[in-house]
């Protein structure tokens, strides 16, 4: 990484607006942070004295915990706010929430919200750093980054790598962040699933569209398999979970027909036997748990960089000292 690695700016709202240098800086910064989680004392004083609010308007277990570990391993002070209803049903508007946080002089806000654009909305209204932990169906940038880091770790490069995202793409913030980040970093991207969940209009984003998972498996080096929400079936996008599994489920039988081994990712939580069969999820080419490990490192990297840390100093920061 160069001495002139770009700064991320104030916020991480999405990967669409980031260039190759910025994305690479985050991935490269995550590498040295991985080692902290392997130590007996998993804590460095990089964000000592910083206060971070994890503001979750939608239920989340793994993303929230992953952020919380990342924050605590960097010695930040954290507060978790969870609200199952949206801010609107709760009575307080998002803008009032933002003003309250500002009044409490929070350094960073990590927010998940059900509305696309909510992270941008908050970022434009408060001076604190804002990290998008998922906004509606727009973006989930840290998930995209950890997926991309996992692919890079395993294949050694992203240039020319063929990644197919399988499942409910139209409603997926994970899919969008992956598409933007991977395309910027030189990968080829495809999406695959029932046309009700993977409309052909995605071609306009510069990705291939497959209707049959067999075709995707022939084409791809990597499958990133999305969770099929039960509510999609209830809303009529697919007639039944069983039919979905029969036609779009990723099984060992289908993978055996591939010209070469495929790397298997899943952002979780998995519906075993629906979008992914257990022997695939637990198989030798599954890197699903690597994704979880990388999630903490990527989030540490993002928090460090937003706090003003320089990518080239991450190695030194591990040993002690603040971000600057």
């Amino acid at each position: 990484m160069s001495e002139t690695a770009p700064s991320l700016g104030k916020d991480l709202v999405g990967l669409e607006s980031l260039g190759r240098e910025e994305l690479t800086a985050i991935l490269d910064t995550a590498e040295p942070f991985k080692e902290i989680s392997e130590r007996r004392i998993k804590k460095v004083p990089v964000l000592r004295g910083k206060t971070i609010v994890n503001l979750f308007f939608e239920p989340s277990t793994r993303t929230r915990i992953s952020f919380e570990f990342a924050e605590k391993r960097l010695s930040a002070d954290t507060v978790n706010i969870s609200s199952t209803g949206s801010s609107v049903t709760k009575g307080e508007t998002l803008v009032d929430t933002a003003r309250n946080l500002e009044a409490m002089r929070i350094d960073m806000v990590v927010m998940r919200h059900g509305a696309s654009g909510a992270a941008r909305f908050l970022a434009d209204r408060i001076p604190s750093n804002v990290v998008n932990a998922g906004d509606g169906r727009h973006e989930h940038p840290t998930q995209g980054l950890l997926d991309i880091l996992t692919i890079r770790d395993n294949l050694g490069t992203l240039e020319g790598v063929k990644v197919c995202i399988v499942g409910d793409v139209v409603h997926s913030r994970v899919a969008r962040s992956n598409i933007y980040g991977l395309l910027t970093l030189g990968a080829e991207v495809a999406v695959c699933g029932p046309p009700t969940l993977v409309p052909g209009s995605f071609r306009e984003l510069g990705v291939e569209v497959f209707q049959h998972v067999e075709d995707a498996i022939q084409w791809a080096d990597v499958l990133n398999i999305l969770r099929l929400q039960l509510e999609r079936m209830e809303a009529g996008y697919v007639p039944s979970l069983r039919e979905y599994n029969r036609i779009w489920g990723v099984s060992t039988e289908r993978l055996e027909k591939a010209p070469h081994d495929l790397l298997i990712l899943h952002p979780g939580p998995m519906n075993r036997g629906v979008e992914i069969d257990s022997d695939v999820a637990d198989g030798e080419h599954s890197v699903i748990l690597d994704q979880v490990t990388n999630g903490v490192a990527v989030r540490m990297a993002v928090l460090y960089l937003l706090a003003g840390g320089r990518p080239e100093k991450a190695e030194a920061a591990k040993k002690g000292g603040g971000p600057s």
Partner: protein
């Protein structure tokens, strides 16, 4: 009381008389008394020097939401009528999607009375097609017309039941009023918040496809054709919709249709950054659709320009995009926007603009005005075609400020608005 007014030396543009030239206009007792190259000022007449200004029959906006009763924090009939006058409009048609809705003669009478009391632009009530805008059975259309309704619509709630729409197009023929429809198949647009396209895909916002609008436009045209009723299609925004109306007009279907300034000027890209001030329904669409709307206004397929003035409180628009309501205010920017970006870019000439914003709206909704013929109501708009100004919503008379043109530099703005021979607004 109306005064005697003499407007001297202005360029009088009145397509209803094929008039475009420098004239004096004398207004006496609420009527146009004389339009001639030189008129001697009567005693006690107030003389308005209109040298360098354009004098037209009063502009009429057939599609505004004045929010009263029920949402007076957004707009009232009085504030809306004043905003209209400040924008150069001498008359507006108030949509009935209030709370409670205008679906009975007493409610129609309330809107008419409040409009008169405001003493600004004329306010013509529009009644609902169906009781409670529920799309189930016809409202008291005959009695609402007797009380002053000039049209019916369930605007905001498209009539999904085609059988009911057919009944409305038949029944209204007894009263000579148009049925105005917001064409949208709700089963196709369900959950949508902007145009379905590349921008919605990128932003992760659910979209409303053109087909949702196209299907209802075609349905309404077929029903108007088979019943002989008058359909007025509101805020047409799609290329297929424009072409369908063009073909229907060629077949002789009784159809009139609107274009709104924002669909003539903006595209879906205005939504970038989740800008709720550019959220409206129908949504801003693609450049190709905008070109079709422009061509439709140019050739008269879309015969009327109407704002769809839709005030919302700033709190409601200061929200995540999917939580924000649809609509923008338009009364105080429409003339400047059209002069700058439609006339100024050669899409319409000035007389055709007056035709679309005054003469034709009056004809379509059978309203007095739309002409400066002698004996016509003394409703006159006078504007300065070269004045440069910057859109500043804080200066609006409307109670609401929600619109995407803040800070735009425009050329052309109203100087005097005269209603019934009385100057109700002057700069």
């Amino acid at each position: 009381m109306s005064e005697t007014l003499l407007l001297t030396g202005g360029r009088v543009v009145d397509p209803s008389q094929e008039l475009d030239g420098v004239r004096d206009v004398l207004l006496v007792d609420g009527e146009v008394a004389r339009v001639a190259p030189s008129v001697q000022a009567p005693e006690h007449a107030r003389v308005l020097d209109c040298d360098g200004l354009v004098v037209t029959p009063g502009l009429i906006d057939v599609h505004v939401h004045l929010r009263e009763p029920g949402e007076e924090h957004k707009e009232t009939i009085a504030s809306g009528a004043r905003a209209a006058a400040a924008g150069g409009f001498t008359a507006v048609c108030a949509m009935p999607n209030t709370e409670p809705p205008i679906d009975n003669p007493a409610a129609v009478g309330f809107v008419a009375a409040e409009g008169r009391r405001a003493g600004a632009a004329r306010v013509y009530p529009v009644g609902c097609i169906s009781v409670d805008r529920a799309g189930k059975r016809l409202a008291l259309i005959g009695e609402m017309v007797e009380a002053g309704a000039v049209a019916v619509t369930d605007d905001g709630n498209p009539v999904m039941n085609s059988g009911l729409m057919k009944l409305a197009l038949q029944y209204t023929q007894a009263f000579g009023i148009p049925v105005a429809d917001h064409p949208e198949d709700l089963t196709l647009s369900a959950g949508g918040h902007m145009n379905a396209g590349i921008v919605s895909t990128r932003l992760g916002l659910p979209g409303k496809p053109n087909a949702a609008e196209d299907i209802h436009i075609v349905r309404d045209l077929l029903l108007a054709e088979t019943t002989g009723g008058h359909i007025h299609l509101q805020h047409v925004s799609t290329r297929f919709g424009v072409e369908s109306i063009r073909q229907a007009k060629a077949r002789g279907v009784r159809v009139t249709a609107e274009a709104s300034p924002h669909h003539l000027i903006l595209t879906e890209e205005a939504v970038e950054g989740y800008r709720t001030e550019a959220k409206m329904n129908p949504p801003l669409r693609t450049a190709e659709d905008r070109e079709a709307v422009r061509a439709g206004v140019a050739d008269g397929t879309l015969d009327t320009i109407a704002t769809d003035h839709a005030p919302h409180h700033y709190d409601e628009k200061e929200a995540a995009f999917t939580d924000a309501p649809n609509g923008i205010v338009g009364l105080e920017t429409a003339l400047g926007l059209i002069l700058t970006h439609v006339v100024g870019e050669g899409i319409l000439d000035l007389p055709t603009m007056v035709e679309r914003m005054s003469c034709q709206p009056a004809r379509a909704f059978h309203l007095p005005g739309g002409t400066l013929a002698e004996g016509a109501p003394a409703d006159v708009t006078v504007f300065d075609p070269v004045a440069r100004w910057t859109v500043d919503s804080n200066a609006f008379r409307s109670r609401s400020h929600n619109q995407p043109f803040e800070g735009w530099e425009l050329t052309g703005r109203p100087s005097y608005t005269v209603v019934g021979g009385r100057v109700v607004w002057e700069r």
